[in-house]
Point group: C2
Chain length 193, copies 2
DNA sequence: GTCTATATTGGGATAGAC
DNA sequence: GTCTATCCCAATATAGAC
């Protein structure tokens, strides 16, 4: 791998592990096996390198989600596939965790890919819920936007619970709770309001 | 307020705003209007001060939750009250955000109050769901532990969405999505499995 | 209890040689 | 392109005077 590549990949990992504030240029260089001058030759500085790393992580997340959501089965099954997909639960979401980074949130350029990715994810899920509703798989009363927000929040919050308890079980519990409620939101459900 | 008090309160605010990694002793001192020596006279160092701050924040959260959850109305209403309680949404959860702090998670002493608080919160909600189920307010099939995990995850993840988009609306959307599903999980709901 | 002085390491970067 | 030297300031303390 080229030096710029190694620098970006190292930044991605450190950003995931320690966040933006907790990641120093020196740590990146050491992880990448690159010298000081080398890093500053290829990138303007820490924010520039972080931007490249965040963009790539965001792209990768979209591809992964598209893979798991791309089928044409029933809406419930696609949402289920998304929720149950393999994850490195204890590491958390490499995009979502950046929202807790004050210096990322304060910088419009760094923040943009985070905003866009989570917006995209929610809208993608909302489309699937809407489809399911139109096909009569979900109750007509199920709000696609709100339900999609709930799905994304469950995942993001599941990471918080898992990291707090030190176990993926907490993530799993929340996801199972959501799936049970979604399963009960079929078109036959007359109590849904 | 005494100097130790001001130091603890300042640490609480900075921890909430910038996290543990992003909070320096110097910043705390300036925020508290205390000198270097003064801080090290009252506290052993950054971890010691952070522990005092985290413990107090955790206690405060428990009291707040107890206040809103303490009534004796229907289970749904109590959960609703919890979900709709006033929050500083864009600041996020002062306890939950610490799970994204690598130095907190790596230190058992700092991490303990975080683990305990989120465990306690989930168990408290599980108890309410269980009560509601026993009273016939919720479907018998509703799993208390999983549902409680879902509720906590929705809130924690709602903060992520809100901070990503820069608006509390995203938090609200997820919560509304959850409330709609919970409302449909009454005892009459025969589709719940 | 609080202050100032001092110390070590790291953060984040620029300059210029090779 | 990469390396080393250098810079300045912040992070996180300790020591000892007041």
């Amino acid at each position: 791998m080229s030096t710029p590549e190694r620098l970006i990949e190292s930044t991605r990992e450190l950003l995931w592990e320690r966040g933006y504030v907790g990641t120093s240029p020196k740590a990146i260089q050491q992880h990448a096996g690159a010298g000081q001058g080398s890093m500053y030759h290829h990138f303007a500085g820490k924010p520039d390198l972080a931007l490249a790393a965040i963009r790539r992580t965001a792209e990768e997340l979209r591809r992964t989600v598209d893979d798991v959501l791309g089928g044409d089965g029933p809406a419930y099954a696609r949402v289920e596939a998304y929720l149950l997909r393999e994850r490195d639960v204890l590491r958390g979401c490499p995009v979502g965790r950046l929202t807790m980074d004050p210096d990322v949130i304060a910088d419009d350029t760094l923040r943009a890919p985070v905003t866009e990715t989570l917006d995209w994810l929610r809208d993608r899920l909302a489309g699937i819920v809407r489809e399911g509703r139109e096909r009569g798989e979900f109750a007509a009363s199920l709000d696609p936007h709100r339900t999609a927000s709930l799905i994304v929040a469950t995942v993001q919050g599941g990471y918080v619970l898992a990291r707090a308890s030190g176990s993926p079980a907490a993530f799993e519990a929340g996801v199972r709770g959501l799936l049970a409620l979604l399963a009960s939101a079929g078109p036959d459900d007359t109590t849904t309001q």
